[in-house]
Symmetry: D2
Subunit: 342 residues, 4 copies
């Protein structure tokens, strides 16, 4: 019997990508699609790439619209998920693609988001040690941020194997869809094409505490994170360049062995052969993560680099993967490791 | 029982896109993958987005390698298909993604390609009047060129309904993958990003006689074609802006009615609602064709515009669609109308 | 003695490009810079590429702010120029970069802009026959639209030499800066990168009557124009592909001769050697116009293609060129034919 | 009297950018233009954006062609400059835009370039402490690499003020022109558009020892550098994100004060106001360097970010700036801080 899924916030980039994936998910039937300012509009006008749904009309996001589904995905602005989730009942699987339930530390939440902490839900990054167990059978899932997905997957093997000092330095480039569909001048095509620029420099980006939380849990000790996000002239993709000082004795071989072990059984994380490096184009539209790692003996650092599609594995694909686990489906159902390139 | 398919020329863009589609085709099992200069290399190095095939190694393109398959796709440079096809026997379905067997007129072939004409195979654009019948059960298919696909689908309804004078004017913008993967200076990223430029202006592009052939057959009279291709700063996609003088009496309504009729039962061609226009991003990675048409009363012209993915519907998707028909499968098997956007 | 110039509307793309050019104009001293919603802001925040003006602060657009200048450039939304110009007095050179004073026919204006016609000023496209005379000593200049600049320069030689039928078909691709700096969802980088799409199809674009006006004046008879603009994934540049049926007897030689004659003494229009085609990248940031022309004997059409920088020659560069003429300066002062490439 | 300048290697990106700058340099007259494989071709075909030089023809790079000039710029592949320079005589100013004479340590050269060390010339990064003195009157100049330019300018103030630990971590994104004009498959537009990818990871990039040399000299102690270059989908520009652990006691104020001091009198380096961050688009085509710096107290690191145009300040602009100093001209002659944006 099909899983009936509703999507609250179907007009944005996260909602659109989720629908793209759900349309080909063999166990899911797409139910209500809701929006706020776009309620009443045809999806064909809002998401013109989703031709099979072109004639669907967005409903307002109300408890009535979302009732009667097995799964409800929330692709809402930060701070709005808790109120909606409360109305959905404990038996409905609620998958929050926003930030509201990602952080364990209320003080972190309040410092970075400026509002009361709504709580913590099982964290939807199955590849992290111990994460799958918490997701199995769960009725609530907090989908990770796109940057924390890329960064945590690139670095956790080094910390799990105690190969790295607890001071991570991360510079990540993201496609513009990560900034959402709201029209802002600095996101205009005229501004972003041909340009690279940083933002949220110096520790202020909201994904920083999430990285600290993930890496610290794996390392078993507090990890500091210097995180610099940059905006790249492409619609999709995150390339995360992560490094940390190596803890002696480390060799190129021990580093590679740690990564091979960490990803040996992972269906979506692909440690590239030595000499080949990730490219965001290779994971375009897919749930795959390409990872490569190097040990720079002269600088004494481990450099781990990952490429993901920020909307797919970084948001909607990660959401579907965790939904699969929560529902007891094969984790890879409806997901692919095949990118669209060139 | 699965259809076993070989791909000759698996290292290029057409071959890569075909493999991307065949990987999710439920009736196809991927057999031999061959190349010439790249024989012996891992596909993971050549097509890093096709992770499930990363460890496959290209064989040389020989009769032995291609033997034992139900279908052989040829993604070879122009002029090489005939020799390979001859060795394959009459019971193997041979799908030529090159130009060799598209043109009916030997003189046209020789004038535009400068070599002896190899022959004419059933033409793989199922949406053209009469095309499906010739493809059903056929063991040979000539896949159309990417521009002729976009242009013929945009204009044939106007000619089928005798609404347009037989002088078509076409300006099309193509993503750079249409020019292939061979490294040429004018195709460098540094050259194409931020730039639009025409090429093959004045009637010299090799796809021109193919358009003339298609439109003339539908019109029932010779049609001249002024075709200007331009290179656009994007990896994929063709936007074809096509127009012709309207034949009185024509109205906006009669034009729209002709297009609605032509595409009413087509699974892949989507006539957009009035007021919405095609965008190549909306068909990225999909087999869909977005079409819109307008009647400019002041200029007395019908303007029909189509958007396709040049590698998908324009090459590999069209090849799979025609293969499906030839094999008696549902025409849409393994294909999608869902684009990857933004 | 320096010419003192004010810029009303200094925060947008046209205003920014004008300032970029005026900063290196040897005869101009930059005076007041005004804005509306951005008044009070540092130019460094609004136009971060104009470092020498970073500490200038925008004033509100008032008669007082604009008083005391020799030249006032208006880079205002359509419909606002007349009111400002009236307050400036007859001795001030007013250069309107908006549309308000371009059209001669009041009915055209009203049909396309939906407001009362403000009048007609000397038209700032010096290369058109007779245009320079009207600009010399003038105190009012209407800067042409970006598309009409590209199209008129590509086609007028054919019409001046009576080589073409009076039915022009034009498809032009523009960079996104042509759509301005106001944040609209369809202009987001996520939407435009990787995509080509048309707009204003079927005769509705406001630049259409301007092209009809220019070409008809040269042809000496009414010329219809089928104009399809498309949005290209690049910040700047227009590539205009223009064609018309050839009037017998026409030869490739007679066409080329007409173009050579038309541009022989033009400092900014460069007819490329045969075999070379325009590229928008080649005129990036420059006032140059690259033109090439072909005669397609099979289709019986002349195809003329031009590339300009829409913000430079298409707007601000054209404005400076006409200002130079009006003030009696050398026409090329402060302008360049050197593009920034790659 | 004009300075007569020859350019050896005028067909590549560095040579083209140099010519773009020299064309508007008021003290320079462009003399011989030479090439190797492109000798005999019109510059208009090779550098179509340089219209004033379109009819110049490249000569072979011979001592005869280069004789009789005051300045000879070498834009040659690595390893070829020494042989040419030897033939030019001690009174000719030779400006090498290649790597041959940048490194002081012969062992470094041999380890990274695999050939015998040719020597060390005065280093053309005038903003480094002490650099101007070595350039004044010099007849030999080694132009820095593009990445070392961006990185050294971003970080040297922190090291000069002893605010940072001697372990720098650098991730830089470069436009594709940094990889040159030779056609290689991974540099095709189809490959780079929409993609970010790293290369030379783990200490192998040839610019690494140059950064170590520069930062170590300023710090007065050995500095290790972890350098990861990434290829970004844009033609030009480098964004260098550089960080190092802060040396207590450090405050945001002391960091900013050090940067303000370092750049107070620099004509080309612009420390942005607090809250504004560099963007490569803002320095497109200009010799400006935009720098911003932050202190991340939680991570204990100083993050300094610079944006340059890799072809301008990063190569040809830097060459002209150093030439000006060597010749006793005003350092800013012929150079600009005005970018071409959007």
């Amino acid at each position: 019997m099909a899983v009936r899924a509703a999507v609250a916030g179907a007009s944005g980039y996260a909602g659109g990508e989720l629908l793209r994936l759900l349309l080909t998910h063999p166990e899911v039937e797409i139910g209500a699609l809701t929006g706020n300012s776009n309620a009443g509009q045809r999806l064909g006008a809002l998401q013109p790439h989703l031709l099979p749904l072109a004639d669907r009309v967005l409903e307002p996001t109300t408890p009535e619209a979302l009732a009667g589904h097995d799964v409800v995905f929330l692709a809402l602005p930060h701070g709005q998920s808790a109120a909606v989730a409360e109305q959905l009942g404990p038996d409905v699987l609620v998958v929050d693609m926003g930030a509201d339930f990602r952080l364990e530390d209320a003080a972190d939440w309040e410092a970075f988001y400026g509002s009361p902490h709504a709580g913590t839900w099982p964290y939807g990054l199955p590849e992290l040690p111990g994460a799958r167990g918490a997701l199995e059978g769960s009725k609530r899932i907090a989908v990770p941020g796109c940057y924390p997905t890329a960064v945590s997957l690139a670095l956790f093997p080094a910390y799990a194997a105690h190969l790295a000092e607890p001071e991570a330095v991360i510079v990540a480039a993201s496609g513009t869809s990560g900034a959402g569909k709201a029209a802002k001048p600095h996101l205009l095509g005229s501004e972003v094409m041909g340009s690279m620029s940083p933002y949220g420099v110096g520790g202020g980006h909201r994904h920083t505490p999430e990285m600290i939380q993930n890496l610290g849990a794996v390392a078993g000790e507090p990890v500091t994170v210097s995180f610099t996000p940059t905006l790249a002239p492409m619609p999709r993709g995150i390339l995360a360049t992560c490094s940390a000082k190596a803890r002696p004795p480390v060799t190129a071989e021990s580093v590679r062995a740690a990564y091979e072990k960490a990803f040996a059984d992972e269906p979506f994380v692909h440690l590239l052969p030595e000499g080949q490096w990730p490219a965001t184009a290779s994971v375009y539209g897919s749930n795959a993560v390409q990872v490569q790692v190097a040990y720079d003996a002269a600088a004494g650092r481990i450099i781990a680099i990952s490429a993901i599609d920020n909307l797919a594995k970084g948001t909607a694909g990660g959401a579907v993967q965790s939904m699969n686990i929560a529902l007891g489906l094969d984790e890879t159902t409806g997901l692919t490791t095949i990118g669209v390139a060139p």
